[in-house]
């Protein structure tokens, strides 16, 4: 297995800074605060966030500390990986100066120290380094330069999926470029149809333009990638329920039921199940009553076909109601929940 075998809390207790960073990397966690805290300690950086007066001084201090700091026992690979991680994390928490220090330290690695004549390990033309520079430019709000950097990376190697992703992100971050962002995401998904995270992004875009069926389609792609995630099933059920229609509401119920099976304490799914079952009953009622004047036959057929499903929906409403009451019993929210449940019990 990759990464340290202890869990994060033991490592933190032991002040094993390097292994904390490695653990976070191996498990792909987004713990930027932790990374900045322990990364700074690893490299012996004393960083005062309130010290904005002598900007240049502080920056220099960071650089000097990183190259000379107490991390001499690290191998080059470990050191560079830790610096890279620290750089990304510091950008994530908005600590631009620390990121600058990291970038400088990365290019100085190997060149610095006793024999400054040796060539640096990381050149400025390295793709991995330029990826960090791109992130840095984005964080400083310099979208123009970041975008041109990514364009250059893509021209060098069109299958650089990271650059393609960041280009979408740059567009999505600008409020006046939403249409271009959507086109960019579309293009990305054409080239990377197996990227579940991109499908999830597409779901959010579809949701923002009220295309609920499309949103549900995207979520189904996400479900195919991580089928046991209760939350994705919940979202999918919600998308179908919002899309409306007899078939969609029925499908929504199924997804929500599955979400609850995967995580019985998913309260959002319980509420959604309640709501979806209700709207399903409403759909049935609409079909049976509206056609009763003209084509009564159709309404009757629907009623007959859906007879069993209606029973199921009613049972689901009851079950969800019982669960919610059980959860909220004796809590302050109980009054509100009871009111909601009363409304839905009218449709039974």
């Amino acid at each position: 297995m990759i990464g340290p075998e202890d869990d994060l809390s033991t490592l933190i207790d032991r002040h094993d800074h390097l292994n904390i960073l490695r653990y976070i990397r191996a498990h792909k966690l987004r713990e930027s605060q932790l990374v900045v805290a322990h990364g700074s300690k690893l490299f012996g950086i004393v960083y005062d966030e309130n010290d904005n007066v002598d900007d240049d001084d502080n920056e220099n201090a960071v650089v000097v500390n990183i190259t000379g700091g107490g991390a001499k026992s690290l191998g080059h690979a470990e050191r560079l990986a830790a610096l890279e991680q620290l750089c990304v994390a510091s950008l994530d928490v908005g600590n631009i100066r620390l990121a600058e220090g990291c970038l400088a330290a990365i290019t100085a690695a190997g060149a610095g120290g006793a024999n400054s004549n040796s060539a640096p390990l990381v050149t400025k033309s390295s793709t991995r380094y330029r990826k960090l520079v791109g992130l840095y430019l984005e964080a400083t709000g310099d979208y123009e330069n970041a975008s041109s950097l990514y364009r250059q990376l893509l021209a060098e190697n069109p299958s650089n999926s990271h650059a393609a992703k960041r280009q979408y992100c740059i567009l999505a971050a600008q409020p006046n470029k939403q249409v271009e962002a959507m086109a960019c995401l579309n293009e990305y998904l054409m080239n990377h149809p197996g990227d579940a995270a991109a499908w999830y992004q597409m779901y959010q875009v579809r949701l923002s333009v009220c295309d609920y069926e499309g949103a549900a389609y995207c979520l189904e792609e996400v479900i195919l990638a991580c089928p046991l995630d209760s939350n994705v099933h919940t979202l999918c059920g919600e998308a179908y329920a919002t899309a409306g229609g007899l078939a969609s509401t029925k499908l929504a119920r199924k997804h929500l039921a599955l979400a609850i099976q995967l995580n019985a304490n998913n309260l959002r799914a319980w509420y959604a199940l309640l709501s979806a079952s209700e709207s399903y009953l409403e759909e049935v009622q609409k079909l049976t009553t509206s056609t009763s004047g003209g084509v009564g036959k159709n309404g009757k057929r629907v009623a007959e076909e859906e007879e069993e499903s209606i029973e199921v929906a009613k049972e689901l409403i009851k079950l969800a109601g019982e669960k919610l009451v059980q959860v909220y019993k004796g809590k302050k929210m109980m009054g509100i929940v009871e009111r909601i449940l009363k409304e839905s019990s009218e449709s039974l």
Partner: protein, 346 residues
């Protein structure tokens, strides 16, 4: 193992005409053989193994960019494998089937409004882009070495430089093995080095006594020098793994990151990824899949959630009313239930 305290060389073999005596009598091996052949061989092998790994690491080619077409095709394959795998059961049955059809239909089939499936479109796209790339390469090469018979004879899509890269890593090992084999059989030929502490059948003679073919009567548990070389060569693999340790976490992560940046160390040598072909195969496989043979967890999620409260059962117990699912005539049902009733009466 070589037996010490003996200055007798391998001359003390019993008479070959007496097989019974031969199996019981032990051969005394000179301790000089141990000191000057067995141990040096072991040391040479370990040193050579270390040398090989480090030279191989030096000779490893830098990561190459993955072709745009291949990356796209691989991503598509990932998407298909999800649909085909177990996670396909977590979306609705109809939607699964719709995806299967939309991805795999052939041109001209009636089921999908005569449009080609997504995968087949992708395959066609990959094919055309590959052809365009080849044509581009040809025109580029055309200026410099149009008359080169080697490039002319090359199959399309085969790049000589990529073929070389795959071999480079193996080259060090191959050359080294050849040289070592020659050296060992030149310097240490004809020694009986070691006796394994258990009897073996004659079938192992080929394996253990390579280079000693003249001694047909020698017990099989004695090992010759060339065979000792082979045994050590394969036996040391686990030792090297232990000695050199597992690759650093940072290295493994670096390789993953390279992939994200669209770079890759070439796969196994000779394993060329042929995007259009693979995509077509996948489409054909998908076409042959059947909804009915799959289980959809989503379809009976409600039933599982409700458990005993699922109302369908109640209905069957009642046995009244029409069969809503299939619209069958109720007459049969009544006949059935009445027959059950009759049986009960009996």
């Amino acid at each position: 193992m070589p037996l010490p305290h003996s200055n007798m060389a391998s001359s003390s073999i019993s008479s070959p005409s007496d097989p019974l005596v031969r199996t019981t009598q032990t051969l005394l091996l000179d301790s000089q053989i141990r000191d000057w052949v067995v141990l040096p061989l072991l040391v040479i092998m370990i040193a050579a193994g270390l040398l090989r790994t480090y030279v191989g690491r030096l000779l490893r080619p830098p990561p190459k960019p993955i072709s745009h077409i291949d990356a796209r095709a691989k991503s598509a394959l990932l998407r298909i494998s999800r649909l085909r795998g177990g996670s396909g059961g977590y979306i609705s049955k109809n939607h699964w089937e719709a995806r299967r059809l939309a991805w795999s239909t052939r041109e001209g089939s009636s089921s999908n409004n005569n449009t080609t499936g997504w995968l087949r479109q992708e395959a066609a796209l990959a094919e055309s882009e590959k052809k365009a790339l080849d044509a581009l390469q040809k025109t580029e090469n055309g200026g410099s070495n149009a008359n080169d018979p080697l490039t002319a004879a090359m199959l399309p899509g085969m790049d000589p430089s990529t073929m070389m890269d795959g071999m480079k890593g193996n080259m060090a090992a191959m050359v080294q093995n050849m040289v070592m084999m020659q050296g060992i059989s030149h310097f240490f030929r004809g020694f009986v080095l070691v006796k394994v502490p258990f009897p073996l059948t004659r079938g192992f003679k080929q394996m253990f006594q390579r280079g000693l073919f003249d001694l047909t009567t020698l017990d099989t548990s004695y090992v010759s020098s060339v065979s000792w070389y082979f045994l050590v060569m394969f036996g040391l693999r686990a030792f090297f793994r232990l000695a050199m340790g597992e690759p650093l976490q940072e290295e493994v992560e670096g390789n993953e990151l390279q992939k994200e940046l669209g770079l890759d160390y070439g796969g196994p040598p000779g394993g060329q990824f042929d995007a259009p072909k693979v995509l077509i195969t996948e489409a054909d496989n998908l076409e042959l899949m059947n909804v009915r043979s799959r289980r959809f967890k989503l379809e009976d999620a409600e039933k599982k959630l409700l458990g005993k409260r699922y109302p369908k059962k109640k209905k069957i117990m009642k046995g009244s009313g029409e069969d809503v699912l299939f619209g069958l005539s109720s007459g049969k049902n009544k006949a059935l239930s009445s027959s059950i009733r009759n049986k009960k009466k009996d």
